[in-house]
C-alpha cells in the first residue's frame, strides 16, 4: 500500500506557538487546532515525518483555573503547566484522531542536548515513534525545569529537537493567520508560505535542494521581526 520510495522524504519539526491556536481575544480556538491537525495530518500522509513542538500548557492551565491573568511566580506557572499540559494533549489527540493520526506525548528538559546518553535515548524514541507513523508532540517538562519557564518562547526547544532528530526543516506556525515559515537545514534561507495548500510543494522543493548540499545541524535563524515584516 505504501510506496517506500515516497516515504521518509523529509523530516520536519513543527513549532507551534499558542498564539497560532488562539482567537483575537487570546482564548484557545478549537477550530484553529482542528485546521492545524488537518494540515499536519495531510503533510504526514504525503510522506513527511513530523515532530511537533508546542507551547500552550500554561495558557490552557490558567484558562482551566479561571485565572484572570497569567500566573507570575515560577511555582504558579508550574501548577498551571501541569494542569494545562494534560488539556493540551487531550485536545491534540482529539483533533488528530479526526484525521486518523496517532500522536504521542514527549516531555523533555532543555538540557537534554548537554548529555550524550539523553540525546541517544531521545533520538531512539523519536525514531521508533516516527517509524510507527506516530507524531510526537513535544513540550518542555516545565515541572522540573525552572530555568526558562518564564520565557514564552519554545524556539530553543524546537531547535534542540531538530538537532536530535536531524530534521530537514523547522516549520514555524506562530500567528493566527494561515502563514507558515520554513527554516531549512543547512545554509538555505528561511521561506515564508502564506497559502497552506502550497506547504507540501515548498517542502518538496527544499528536499530537492537539500539533496545536493552538505547536511549539517545549522538552521538559519529567523527573528520575530522578520516574521512580522513578512506578514
Amino acid at each position: 500500500m505504501i510506496d517506500s520510495k515516497k516515504m521518509c522524504e523529509g523530516r520536519i519539526v513543527v513549532r507551534i506557538e499558542i498564539s497560532a491556536l488562539s482567537n483575537a481575544e487570546g482564548k484557545f480556538d478549537h477550530r484553529k487546532m482542528d485546521r492545524l491537525a488537518m494540515v499536519l495530518s495531510n503533510l504526514n500522509n504525503s510522506g513527511k515525518q513530523l515532530l511537533l513542538v508546542t507551547s500552550g500548557a500554561i495558557a490552557l492551565g490558567s484558562d482551566k483555573l479561571n485565572l484572570k491573568k497569567q500566573p507570575q511566580s515560577a511555582v504558579d506557572m508550574q501548577v498551571a503547566a501541569a494542569i494545562g499540559q494534560a488539556e493540551l494533549i487531550r485536545f491534540y489527540q482529539h483533533y488528530f484522531d479526526q484525521y486518523n493520526q496517532i500522536v504521542a506525548q514527549v516531555l523533555i528538559t532543555r538540557d537534554v542536548l548537554d548529555n550524550e546518553v539523553r540525546v541517544t535515548n531521545a533520538r531512539n524514541t523519536f525514531e521508533t515513534l516516527l517509524d510507527m507513523n506516530i507524531v510526537p508532540i513535544i513540550n518542555e517538562n516545565d515541572i522540573i525545569s525552572t530555568e526558562d519557564i518564564e520565557l514564552d518562547d519554545n524556539y530553543p526547544l524546537a531547535l534542540s529537537v531538530a538537532k536530535i532528530a536531524k530534521a530537514d526543516a523547522i516549520l514555524i506556525k506562530m500567528d493566527i493567520n494561515s502563514n507558515f515559515i520554513i527554516q531549512p537545514r543547512g545554509s538555505l534561507k528561511p521561506r515564508f508560505v502564506s497559502d497552506e495548500s502550497q506547504l507540501i510543494q515548498e517542502l518538496e522543493n527544499i528536499n530537492d535542494e537539500l539533496k545536493s548540499m552538505d547536511k549539517n545541524d545549522f538552521y538559519y535563524p529567523v527573528s520575530i521581526d522578520e516574521i512580522l515584516v513578512n506578514q
Binding site: M1, I2, N45, S46, Q98, N100, N133
Partner: protein
C-alpha cells in the same frame, strides 16, 4: 466538416448546464497521495465543490473508493494485503473512517450525507432494486448527498460489482441520473497511448463504442485503484444504453466539476444515444 462536428459537440455539452441529477465517482487516485494515503486537502475541496453544486439545486450522488487504503493506513500496514479476507477486514475498518472524514468535511458546508453500501444483487433482485431506488430517491429529495461504495465485507465473486466504475454506472441507472462524471488520474480517453505517442490527443466526444475504441482503452490504469480505462469504457457503455451522459476526466482539482457543468470541453464525453450525431 470539422467545424460542424465541433458545433455539435458544443451543443452536446451545453445541455450539461441544465443537469438536475448527477453521479460523481472518485477513484482512490483522486483521494490519495501516490503512497496510497488520504489527501485531506483534496477531499476537502471535493466536499466543497459538491456542497456548492447541491446548493444550486442539483441532486448529487457520490460514489467513493478508498476504504481499503484508509484501513491499511489506520493499521499502519506498509503493504496492501493480497488475501480477500484481509482486504474485507480493511474495508470494514476503512469505510467507517472514510465516512467519518467525509461527514466532517461536508458538515463544514452544512451538507448532510448518508452512507449506502451496495452489492450487485441489488441490480438483479427486483425487491432489493426497488428498496435501494426508494431509499436513494428519498435521500435526494431531502437534499442529502448519498455516499455509495461497494459493500466489500460481504461481497464475494458472485455478487460483486468488482470495481467502482461499474458500480457508479449501475447507481446512475438506479437513480435515473442525467450525468455520470468519473474522476481519476486519467485526463480522458486518448487517441493513442500518450506515454508512447507524442501526437496522442484526448478524444473530446464519443458517440459509439467501437471495438477499435475499446482497444485504445487497454493499458491505462493506476497502481492503487482496481479500475482503469477498460472499466470506465464499460461504465460508459452501461450509461449510454440507459441514455445517461458520461464524462471521464482528471480529478486532481475537483473544481473541474464546475467547468464540466458549465459545458466546457473537458475530458471525454460519451454521448447519449438518440442525441448523438449520426
Amino acid at each position: 466538416m470539422k467545424s460542424l462536428l465541433i458545433n455539435n459537440i458544443m451543443g452536446q455539452r451545453a445541455k450539461f448546464r441544465n443537469k438536475k441529477r448527477i453521479v460523481i465517482k472518485v477513484g482512490t487516485s483522486s483521494l490519495s497521495f501516490t503512497n496510497g494515503r488520504l489527501n485531506f486537502q483534496r477531499i476537502e475541496k471535493l466536499t466543497y465543490v459538491l456542497s456548492a453544486i447541491r446548493n444550486r439545486n442539483i441532486e448529487v450522488v457520490l460514489v467513493s473508493s478508498g476504504a481499503i487504503g484508509v484501513g491499511a493506513g489506520r493499521l499502519g500496514l506498509k503493504d496492501k494485503p493480497k488475501e480477500l479476507s484481509k482486504k474485507q477486514a480493511l474495508a470494514a475498518i476503512g469505510q467507517a473512517e472514510l465516512m467519518k472524514i467525509y461527514k466532517k468535511f461536508f458538515e463544514e458546508y452544512n451538507q448532510t450525507v448518508a452512507q449506502i453500501l451496495l452489492t450487485k444483487d441489488v441490480m438483479t433482485d427486483q425487491k432489493k432494486y426497488q428498496n435501494a431506488k426508494n431509499t436513494l430517491t428519498q435521500l435526494l429529495t431531502m437534499g442529502i448527498i448519498p455516499i455509495i461504495n461497494e459493500n466489500d465485507t460481504i461481497s464475494t465473486y458472485e455478487i460483486e460489482f468488482g470495481d467502482n466504475d461499474t458500480l457508479s454506472a449501475n447507481v446512475a441507472t438506479l437513480v435515473d441520473a442525467e450525468l455520470l462524471i468519473l474522476l481519476s488520474d486519467i485526463d480522458g480517453l486518448y487517441s493513442a497511448d500518450p506515454k508512447i505517442d507524442a501526437t496522442a490527443e484526448i478524444i473530446e466526444s464519443v458517440n459509439r463504442i467501437t471495438p477499435e475504441l475499446e482497444k485504445l482503452a487497454t493499458g491505462a490504469g493506476t497502481s492503487f485503484g482496481t479500475g482503469g480505462m477498460v472499466t470506465k469504457i464499460s461504465a460508459a457503455k452501461i450509461c449510454m444504453a440507459a441514455n445517461i451522459d458520461t464524462v471521464i476526466t482528471n480529478g486532481t482539482d475537483p473544481a473541474i466539476i464546475f467547468d464540466i457543468l458549465d459545458g466546457k470541453n473537458i475530458g471525454t464525453h460519451f454521448m447519449t444515444k438518440e442525441k448523438a450525431v449520426v
